[in-house]
């Protein structure tokens, strides 16, 4: 059996009287690409918020690499290598693309030992070397995601699709062991999506486990090793794309909100 990186155990979240998630259980194995899908309001983003410490669940636990994440702050979870991107605000809009990545790299700037701050301010050799390394790494990442030409443009001025890429670069800069992507291809056209799928595979091949939330079914079907389907805060199906595609409960869940299209598209990709 493969090594489990992330496991969600009996997690429940309430907002007042509203049940956002009830008793959610699933896990992600090392090196997997897993998709979390479901109709709007199914609790996908809420699940991400619980996994990354932005929300405290009413019940249940999140385990990451063997550690219980209970009570950990978002930045502490990020320090463990569990990094997420966001649906809407995925970039630092008033900074250049290059600076966005540099901000993401900030943890690499932290020098060992107590004098880090003084070294940085006085520009001592160790700090200078580290700064130089960060800049080189940032340039490399910008190149790698293919935004070299826009490196000096403000991230806020980029197209929506390009901003998603910057968001991913930012997340990669933080050296993730596992990446949570929240609707990464929304706003991208077909060719951009295609490139992005390659990018995700590339990232996985570098040893990063990936969990994504996505509405773009063809993309989900083509990229995922496994799919977890959520509806009304509970998991209704789980399995490889082929199984999910045929699962009647899933088709049922999507009825009423363009389910026919989904079914059709799923069929086309089959």
């Amino acid at each position: 059996m493969a090594e489990t990186v992330l496991s969600i155990e009996h997690v429940a979240v309430h907002f007042g009287g509203l049940v956002a998630i009830s008793d959610m259980n699933f896990h992600v194995n090392k090196g997997e690409i897993v998709s979390l899908i479901g109709p709007n309001g199914a609790g996908k983003t809420t699940a991400f918020n619980v996994m990354t410490g932005f929300l405290t669940p009413a019940k249940g636990a999140v385990n990451y690499c063997g550690a219980d994440l209970k009570g950990k702050k978002p930045h502490e979870i990020a320090d463990l290598g569990l990094i997420r991107t966001f649906q809407r605000t995925s970039v630092f809009p008033n900074d250049t693309v290059y600076d966005n990545v540099l901000i993401g790299l900030h943890r690499q700037g932290e020098l060992k030992g107590k004098l880090g701050l003084a070294e940085a301010i006085l520009g001592l050799p160790r700090a200078r070397a580290s700064e130089k390394a960060q800049r080189a790494r940032a340039a490399e990442l910008v190149r790698w995601i293919g935004l070299e030409a826009r490196a000096n443009d403000l991230a806020g001025s980029l197209s929506y699709g390009e901003q998603r890429l910057v968001g991913v670069a930012l997340a990669l800069a933080a050296q993730p062991k596992m990446l949570l992507l929240d609707e990464p291809v929304s706003g991208m056209n077909a060719s951009e999506t295609h490139t992005f799928v390659q990018l995700i595979r590339n990232i996985r091949d570098r040893g990063v486990t990936i969990l994504l939330v996505e509405h773009d079914m063809p993309m989900v079907m083509s990229v995922s090793d496994r799919i977890v389907v959520l509806n009304y805060g509970r998991i209704i199906a789980e399995g490889p794309p082929d199984e999910i595609r045929k699962n009647p409960a899933v088709i049922e869940a999507y009825l009423g909100q363009g389910a026919k299209d989904v079914v059709k598209e799923v069929a086309v990709h089959a």
Binding site: D79, F92, P93, A138, A174
Partner: protein, 348 residues
């Protein structure tokens, strides 16, 4: 390019006492310079972390009182016969202690108040400054309250082998203030261009995202608060040893307002902003004084402030930079980033 401009400005400021013989103007420049140091420290919080502190004068005032009390000595009854007695130390020790203690106060305020944001943070900082002012006013045994601390000695620097230099004249004080200002500018510049500064900027622009990539909010903001408060404390110490009398009025709200005006009109988040805004709003009253009655001077001051913000809502330096086609402050310097061979010090 940018470094050259900075150095030229520094050289210009250094040359001022050589050709400016009017002691009144020199005095105005010294007090303005002290407030510019305060404004630069405020800019670190407001411009680089996005936290508006309207109680910044508290750190300035604490620095002034710490420095004055260190160099004057005190004898404070604490309980019954138990007194804390302090014999006077050299003023330079007061200056250093002012930085340390103000910085420590910055740490406390930071830890306590960064749980709130926006308007709430503004009010917490105002409240903090008012409480400190009221303590200075009412703890008469220590601060002499409204009776003021007087005869504060000038700062003395020990020169190896040459004895002591008492920085008493305006000429001396000008260079003292200029030196502290230049060091503060350098420190802030290095800080905001290091990864610490990038963490601050990230938090300012998109706190949720910053946290998600592992930036520690409390640690980063507290670091900014400590350094900011320490520099403000240094400015307060310079003030105490230059004016040589302080009373609880050093905590006046209008002084914080003066600093905020310097920062925002000059351009928050721009290193040169507080200097430009400070020179304008520090010297404006000096030029208005001879040409209009006192009330009209204040009215003009307010109107000039409004007009500057209407014409240049982002502040003078960023707006001018944009007009001159220099893109936004900071953008130009990274013009050829993709060629990542640029070294760290070029970006300082």
């Amino acid at each position: 390019m940018k470094q050259i401009v900075t150095l030229l400005c520094l050289a210009f400021f250094a040359s001022v006492p050589m050709w400016l013989t009017d002691p009144y103007l020199l005095n105005a420049l010294i007090t303005t310079g002290i407030f510019i140091i305060g404004a630069m420290s405020l800019n670190l919080l407001l411009g680089f972390t996005g936290q508006l502190s309207l109680g910044h004068i508290a750190f300035f005032g604490i620095g002034a009182y710490v420095s004055a009390l260190t160099s004057l000595g005190f004898d404070v009854p604490i309980y019954g016969d138990f007194h804390i007695v302090h014999v006077p130390w050299p003023p330079i020790a007061g200056f250093l202690l002012a930085i340390v203690i103000s910085g420590f106060c910055g740490y406390l305020v930071g830890r306590l108040s960064f749980s709130v944001r926006g308007a709430y943070f503004v009010i917490v900082t105002i409240s903090f400054a008012e409480v400190v002012r009221l303590v200075a006013l009412n703890w008469v045994e220590l601060t002499q309250g409204p009776l003021a601390l007087t005869n504060i000695p000038s700062i003395t620097i020990g020169l190896p082998g040459l004895g002591y230099l008492v920085l008493k004249t305006k000429f001396h004080n000008y260079y003292l203030v200029l030196a502290v200002a230049a060091i503060s500018y350098f420190l802030i510049s290095r800080l905001v261009h290091s990864h610490y500064g990038r963490a601050m900027r990230g938090l300012m622009e998109n706190e949720t995202l910053a946290v998600a990539v592992g930036i520690d909010v409390t640690k980063t903001l507290t670091l900014a608060a400590v350094i900011s408060a320490g520099i403000a404390g240094a400015a307060g110490s310079l003030y105490a040893h230059y004016i040589r009398i302080i009373d609880p009025d050093v905590f006046a709200f209008i002084s914080t307002v003066t600093m905020v005006i310097m920062v925002v009109s000059g351009g928050k988040g721009s290193l040169a902003g507080p200097v430009v805004g400070g020179v304008i709003f520090g010297l404006l009253p000096v030029f208005l004084r001879p040409i209009m009655p006192p009330e009209a001077q204040w009215i003009t001051y307010g109107v000039v402030l409004i007009v500057i913000l209407f014409v240049m809502p982002r502040g003078i330096v960023p707006s001018l930079a944009a007009k001159l086609g220099l893109a936004r402050a900071g953008g130009t310097r990274r013009a050829s980033v993709a060629v990542s061979e640029r070294t760290a010090e070029e970006h300082a």
